[in-house]
Amino acid sequence: MSGLLSSSIARKFAMALSALFLVFFLLMHVSINILSLFSEDAFNTASHFMGTNPLIQFVMQPILIIGVVFHFALGLILEIKNRKAQGVKYAQNNGAANSTWMSRNMIYSGAVILLLIAVHFVDFWFPELNYKYVQGLPEDPNRYYHELVEHFQNPARVGIYALAFIFLALHLLHGFQSAFQSMGANNKYTKGLKNFFAGYAIVVPALFIIIVLFHFLNH
């Protein structure tokens, strides 16, 4: 691992791969959540499948967690290294003249997303673990929708989620296309993809916000 990550380009590549993996996970997550807007049953069925399928529970889920931890840890390490590389700071630096706010503040948008994940774990994942493995309660394929709706009755929580999703959008706005650049995909053929990256970065977090607001307002 250390050998693989010892060069700056390998680290970029690892960062990009883990990022694309997380981007894909987001797509899955939002797809299932969208079901809750249309059909309680469909949402429950999908959630139950995800919550009980052993392949997902014991293979995919640990990979996902490792991916998240890896992405954050490496991001933090890179940030520390990069600050060291800069040495003395400029008395006046006009970063806005040559780069986007998003690209310069990935560590902060990332930190907000990390907070979101923590909140999310406390809200859903820990109770889920508690339900399934600590207390060993019987399977109930119909509980997921209600839990979702219940959680998003609290306006503070809705506000926190919505805000965090905006940061997710900012993170993705730079991150998605940056991952492609890191993997070497930037040439005349990839110009058209730029719009797709930006679209994704806005649409996916927006959908999450819509879902949260929908349940807050509708129940």
């Binding site: 290294k81 040559n98 690209s103």
Partner: protein, 246 residues
């Protein structure tokens, strides 16, 4: 016009530096930025002070010697030029201009605004060449046709003047645009293929060893580059590196 200059003064690499304020008056808008600095230095010499040391040479934007971080940007607020081509008409009477050296751990300050860019040299020694003897007994220049597109792209990458603005503008002090440009120039040409693997591995290894930061694709380097070197060169280097590693 009259201006206030805030300039980084540092006696040598071992001393601590600080920003010092100076006033210059009757600056013509037709002056280049460095000519304005000449006026300041003439003024300092005449008053018995030490002039501000800064790197410069050709003063026509090609040698890559001049540096300076002006009002928070490498080579100042204009685009596609070096500091020597920056003209005072970009500023207004009464302005305060902040002038600092290029900052990066791999570019230590030598004196005032002069920095040491030997790290760039060592990266070039690690692989910035094609191993061909200079005997003159190489094959005829037209024996190896090269597509115009490849030749033009290689030329665009080769236009790098090695000034270091990319490193100075990068919040991570990454040298990837500089290294990417050199790797790209050779990667695009058939002559460069034979040593392509070793070249990219060695140059990147040396770049890392010099203490440059990691690229996070902010794109600041491309915007501030006086020669408009494209980010595509970094992507190409990434590809070349992965190809060589696998």
């Amino acid at each position: 016009m009259d201006l206030t200059l805030k300039i980084w003064r540092q006696k040598d690499s071992n001393s601590k530096g600080q920003m010092v304020d100076y006033k210059v008056t009757e600056i013509s808008e037709h002056m280049s930025f460095l000519e304005m600095m000449d006026v300041l230095n003439e003024q300092l010499v005449n008053s018995g002070d030490e002039p501000v040391a800064f790197d410069h040479d050709c003063r026509e934007g090609i040698c890559g010697m001049c540096s300076m971080y002006i009002n928070g940007e490498a080579h100042g607020p204009d685009r596609g030029i070096t500091t020597c081509q920056l003209h005072m008409r970009m500023f207004k009477d009464g302005d305060t201009i902040t002038i600092e050296p290029f900052r990066a751990s791999a570019f230590p300050v030598i004196k005032d605004l002069v920095v040491d860019r030997e790290s760039f040299e060592r990266i070039q020694h690690a692989g910035g060449f094609i191993s061909v003897n200079t005997s003159g007994n190489t094959q005829d220049a037209n024996a190896l046709p090269i597509s115009k597109i490849a030749a033009d792209e290689a030329m665009d990458a080769a236009a790098c003047i090695g000034c270091g603005a990319c490193v100075a503008s990068c919040k991570n002090s990454s040298a990837m645009l500089f290294v990417g440009a050199k790797v790209s120039q050779y990667a695009l040409l058939p002559q460069g293929q034979i040593e392509a693997k070793e070249r990219v591995l060695n140059m990147v290894a040396q770049m890392d060893k010099e203490g440059f930061g990691n690229c996070t694709n902010t794109g600041a380097c491309e915007v501030e580059c006086p020669k408009g070197i494209s980010l595509e060169n970094i992507a190409r280097m990434n590809r070349e590196y992965l190809k060589a590693s696998i």
